[in-house]
């Protein structure tokens, strides 16, 4: 199993939308390396012919009746919004300038 480098931590942080500080990269690299080294023990079963379990209950497509019910008002739904305008969530720009 590969070791975790500072560069890999920076890559993971980008994927996970975490703007880590430079000193955090070194700190987490050592810790993540330790943890991944320990959890790699699961790979012993990689070749075994065992079906994977993703969930304790064998459920698929649980539906409830499609009925009109009371729901949050726009005011309630927006009550925690960091910014809002015209009954909508106001967010920073999503697309680039061009």
């Amino acid at each position: 199993m590969p070791g975790i480098t500072r560069e890999e931590v920076a890559h993971l942080a980008r994927l996970a939308r975490l703007e880590l500080k430079a000193e955090e990269l070194d700190h987490f690299a050592g810790q993540l390396d330790d943890i991944i080294g320990a959890v790699a023990a699961v790979a012993d079963v990689a070749d075994e012919d065992v079906p994977p379990t993703s969930h304790p209950l064998p459920l698929t497509n649980v539906m409830r009746p499609d009925e009109v019910r009371p729901s949050l008002t726009p005011e309630q739904a927006l009550s925690g919004a960091p910014a809002q305008e015209q009954q909508r969530f106001k967010v920073p720009q999503i697309l680039g300038e061009e």
Binding site: M1, I4, E8, V9, L12, A13, R14, L15, A16, R17, L18, E19, L20, K21, E24, F28, Q31, L32, D34, I35, I36, A38, V39, A40, A41, V42, A43, D44, V45, A46, E48, V50, P51, P52, T53, S54, H55, P56, L57, L59, V62, R64, L72, Q76, A77, S79, G80, A81, P82, A83, F89, V91, P92, Q93, I94, G96
Partner: protein, 497 residues
Amino acid sequence: MSDLTRLTAAETATGIASGAFSAVEVTEAHLARIEAVDEKVHAFLHVDREGALAAARAVDAKRERGERLGPLAGVPLALKDIFTTEGMPTTAGSKILEGWVPPYDATVTRRLREADVVILGKTNMDEFAMGSSTENSAYGPTGNPWDLTRIPGGSGGGSSASLASFQAPLAIGTDTGGSIRQPAAVTGTVGVKPTYGGVSRYGMVAFSSSLDQAGPCARTVLDAALLHSVIAGHDPMDSTSVDQPVPDVVAAAREGDVRGMRVGVVKEFRGEGYQSGVMQRFDESVALLRELGAEVVEVSCPSFTKALAAYYLIAPSECSSNLARFDAMRYGMRIGDDGTRSAEDVTAITREAGFGDEVKRRVMLGTYALSSGYYDAYYGSAQKVRTLITRDFARAFESVDVLVSPTTPTTAFPIGERADDPMAMYLADLCTIPSNLAGNAAMSLPSGLSPEDGLPVGLQIIAPAMADDRLYRVGAAVEAALQARWGHPLIEEAPSL
């Protein structure tokens, strides 16, 4: 009136129903106790004095009108700060949710209110329930009432500490890898992780959705059963909620009889890393079960040795996905939005500032385990281990009714000791994790004090899925026999603070 805080929930409800004292008197006594000791313990993140008194007054009014009261009407409760509460802050122990007031109640919250349980406030926890010590809370640690320099367990350390310091007779926790049972064990209280799907997850801030389970915390087995029956049951708002009748846990707790039952001792839960005093109390509990008429056999669950590794791939993988919702757009913290930055940059800056170290570690670990190239080796293998663990349990339950083990390998460790050593911290959940992976039911109850440090030790009982009543049947029998031996409940030996 301060002795009202020493009563069990069952005694409190009976006293209110009979008019021996009022619900308002009970609530005032607990609010006074919180005022007196919580500066030292720090079990609560938010105390809802007005809301609690209003709920108590409503119970007293109902009684005056001659209305029938529910089995926990007027009993105060401490709610883990992971459940949404309309009009009351909910932080999940994270800075990123500081000041957030949810616009709706979780199903657990709603059921408590409908049962006239008095919600005193919200309790401290490891951020997003990730931790075994409550040190990962963004709002500071909680002390263990048995020794304030030690951890009260985690993630539900606020709930367990509130019980052990008599600030509330009931509390609610959530258990993803042991976050109800481990805090119960190290504080000398009772905690139950019901069968997966037994209690609705609607309105419970998600950590690892295939493992997360809400459950009752109390000072006695009967009190836990009464609370279990209030919060459990099918909920159409949670697609993973089990649509089957709730086992009669209250009747099982009142019976408390192990005669003729077969009890399995898990061979793998012993050895290096287990404190000798913990094993001493455990071996005594096993001997006691024999004396009480149970047949005890040793069982082997070889895959359990890989449970911790599988858990620390599955839980981080699910959390890396679940926590993507904290994007600084719709609720919670937003920083860095100066008009020049993109939404993506604002999200990354906010998450960096809003999440603590353990949350960042797990989000990155999960991102790693799910990334292409590593998926099969890590997440895929962990899912296979999950199958093997489920099979080990199934094989064991073919020959025994319940399994027993110590709840935790050690007693409460000092605050700070494992704070920056994630692997050492993870070992606290060695015995509790297999039940989360398999989705069965498990309880921790006090089994005595460890001789080397005088701190509480927990006995874990594990039952098959949807056989939660067996936990209470066995737990109540052990509790009664131990209390007869000690001459009082173990919690009476906790310092008065």
